[in-house]
């Protein structure tokens, strides 16, 4: 029995279930209460769980994450919403110097089971600071785990798994996919679902491997469908977890297909693709028929909305990279 719902609604259901299942779970952020969040991800939660469980906070991101640290020390499981990707930086100090380091500092005696939800990525025609992909900063930081969902079914289970985890987790939500629908089994037990930090083969293939995550999984799948018409059978891996990355799934695929192309919206230099390319080169060297290629945002600040379609990797840019890989 499954429901066909949007990714945003799936997150809402997942948050609701976590609030129901554990009295220590609290949702906190700007406008998450009465308004239900600017993307309505927390819609209706304050009405049903009260102002102490779903907290409209002052407008201060360091405060949101910093007080979540204190709540977590006391035994709560805070789920923080950062309203937009580009607004996480006032909280960066708390995330990197405190959230990430508390377990290490205390030799595991203090755990911070905090989830920091961040809608990220472009494609919605927004103004500055509303379309960024800052996942590399957090994936670079030891002590944080970083995940991102690409579809409604994963959104529903992954948010619950993240909240149930004792690790601090930065949870990136592909905001331009909030309105895309998919089948979700709302009765599924998240504990028995696909493991949170495991990558999934979103489309099996034999000729090349597209490695994507978050909003780019849909783009990669569309590219693979188009390539199939040209007789190329592409495999698509949805990483899901960006820290740690499930390299086992990546290596197994690349060793079979001999070609790897990493796709992400974030700027290319020192992005996730750089690390993946280095690792694949090291571990799959004798299997590769071509260098690992990357299709990413350019090394510029996220551009004005009227040109963002040219900035964002799309089906054609992915297929162009596939052509280059085969032409090597």
């Amino acid at each position: 029995m499954s429901d066909n719902i949007t990714l945003g609604k799936a997150l809402n259901h997942g948050l609701r279930r976590s609030l129901e299942n554990d009295a220590k779970v609290v949702v906190m952020g700007e406008d998450v209460g009465k308004l239900g969040g600017v993307f309505r991800i927390t819609d209706g939660l304050q009405k049903d769980f009260g102002e102490q469980r779903v907290i409209d906070t002052p407008l201060a991101e360091a405060g949101i994450v910093g007080t979540a640290v204190g709540l977590a020390i006391r035994g709560f499981r805070p789920v923080c919403e950062i309203q937009f990707d580009g607004f996480v930086f006032p909280a960066y100090n708390q995330i990197v110097t405190q959230v990430a380091k508390m377990s290490y500092r205390s030799m595991g005696k203090v755990k911070l089971p905090i989830v920091i939800r961040i809608p990220y990525g472009g494609g919605i025609g927004a103004v500055e600071h509303h379309s960024e992909s800052p996942e590399a900063y957090f994936s670079h930081t030891p002590g944080l785990k970083v995940v991102t969902c690409s579809n409604p079914a994963d959104a529903y289970t992954m948010i619950q798994q993240a909240i149930a985890s004792d690790d601090p987790i930065v949870f990136f939500e592909p905001k331009r996919r909030y309105w895309e629908k998919g089948d979700v089994d709302l009765g599924a037990d998240p504990a028995g679902a696909f493991p949170l930090h495991q990558a999934r083969v979103a489309r099996p293939g034999t000729d090349a491997t597209l490695i994507a995550y978050g909003p780019m999984v849909r783009t990669a799948l569309d590219a693979a469908a188009a390539a199939a018409e040209d007789g190329r059978n592409l495999e698509v891996i949805d990483l899901r977890s960006l820290s740690p990355i499930d390299y086992g799934t990546v290596y197994e695929s690349v060793k079979r297909t001999s070609r790897a192309i990493v796709v992400h919206e974030a700027q290319g230099t020192l992005g996730l693709g750089a690390e993946i390319a280095a690792r694949v080169s090291e571990h799959c060297f004798y299997s590769l028929e071509a260098p690992v290629l990357r299709v990413t945002g350019y090394d510029i600040p996220y551009p004005a909305a009227r040109v963002e379609e040219e900035y964002l990797p799309d089906l054609d840019r992915v297929l162009d990279a596939v052509d280059r890989s085969f032409g090597w």
Binding site: G63, M107, K145
Partner: protein
């Protein structure tokens, strides 16, 4: 002594402060501040003597730590010299159920919590990063990033309210320590906003020791720090930070307000850092000797000793006994610090994540193999 106004003694800064024991060792029975709150203490002789014991002990342990650093046994030490009264008074004001969030200088507060004084030495010796359980000791980990802990304290205090643990004499309260420099941090100001908005059961205890490393108070503020509280909607009180009685009385009152559900208070403990910022600092580059001398006359220990002597509460035999006990404790501490083993290098991979990470496990394995490759060799 007669009841005083908030401005007491020739040594008070403009605007006054709460002082219950003058630098000369005279007791002020009580002080009533402008908001009508009256502060006083009602200690037995043994309690006065206990405070003296605490002050001497934490100073002696601090001196031992500094010596250990100078001898190369600690990488760094942040001395509390001069701030003993602020720390012991506020620390003793805490009830067992209260939670403290220190900076990296609150060794005196740590001592008053009944914690083994060796606990932070792993951090300063460089064998760990702290490594204690905040909840077990009701004393959070030392926080080195300036002001970050004030938000943690605020969140914890919000949790106290959410757990329904305020509203009576058995309620819980939280104290956040920070310095004058920290008051410029945005996060500290955010913690004031949040505490006010959520009526959190918290006391902000600012030890204004006049310097943020080299920068004097004037580089942090245009108005006295305690007056900032008004803008955030809760009381601010300045105390003579070198007076252990004022520190105790005002902190106890503020904590009890908090535990009753009456919200936050800012306490500015007006004191002086007699030593360097840390063992790596050279204060002669930025402050003059005469200033340090003038603060010596306000020493927190000598004023209590003068009081105890004048009141015939204690005699030289008692003072000698306290010194001897503190010395014994310090020498024991020294021995135990010297005996602290270096951690096995491979343990640097431990506790990064509560649930671990396969990627990190692989790095740990590679590191262990690399280390093992040297076994039996000269290197």
């Amino acid at each position: 002594m007669a009841n005083g106004e908030s401005e007491v003694g020739a040594d008070a800064p403009a605007g006054g402060f709460v002082q219950l024991l003058t630098p000369e060792g005279e007791r002020v029975d009580s002080v009533t501040t402008a908001d009508g709150t009256t502060y006083s203490v009602d200690f037995t002789d043994d309690e006065y003597k206990g405070l003296y014991h605490d002050l001497v002990t934490v100073r002696r342990l601090d001196g031992e730590a500094l010596a250990l650093q100078r001898q190369g046994e600690l990488g760094l030490w942040a001395s509390l010299l001069g701030q003993e009264a602020a720390q012991v008074g506020s620390g003793r004001a805490l009830r067992p159920q209260d939670m403290a969030f220190p900076t990296y200088r609150e060794h005196g507060v740590l001592y008053t919590r009944g914690i083994d004084p060796i606990m932070p030495f792993g951090l300063f010796r460089g064998v760990d990063q702290g490594g204690w359980d905040a909840n077990e000791h009701k004393f959070n980990g030392y926080t080195v990033v300036i002001g970050a802990q004030t938000l943690h304290a605020t969140g914890y205090a919000m949790g106290v309210t959410m757990d329904g643990k305020t509203g009576g004499p058995d309620g819980e309260a939280v104290i956040a320590y920070f310095g004058d420099g920290a008051t410029s941090q945005g996060e500290v100001n955010e913690s004031f906003v949040w505490s006010g908005v959520f009526n959190a059961p918290i006391v902000f205890f600012c030890q204004n020791n006049q310097y943020a490393i080299s920068e004097p108070l004037e580089r942090q503020t245009r108005i006295p720090l305690y007056r900032r509280a008004a803008g955030f909607g809760f009381p601010g009180v300045r105390i003579d930070g070198n007076d252990v009685l004022a520190s105790y009385a005002v902190t106890r009152s503020a904590l009890d307000r908090a535990r009753q559900g009456e919200g936050p208070t800012l306490i500015e403990a007006y004191t002086y850092r007699m030593g360097a910022h840390t063992s790596s600092d050279d204060p002669t580059r930025y402050r003059i000797a005469s200033e340090v001398e003038s603060w010596k006359a306000k020493d927190p220990i000598s004023r209590l000793r003068a009081f105890l002597t004048k009141q015939q509460i204690a005699d030289d035999a008692f003072f000698a006994e306290v010194d001897e006990a503190a010395k014994t404790l310090a020498l024991d501490l020294r021995e135990r610090v010297l005996a602290m083993p270096d951690p096995a290098p491979v343990t640097m991979f431990d506790h990064v994540y509560p649930n671990g990470s396969p990627d990190l496990d692989e790095q740990r394995r590679q590191f262990a193999d690399y280390q093992a490759s040297f076994e039996g060799s000269e290197h």
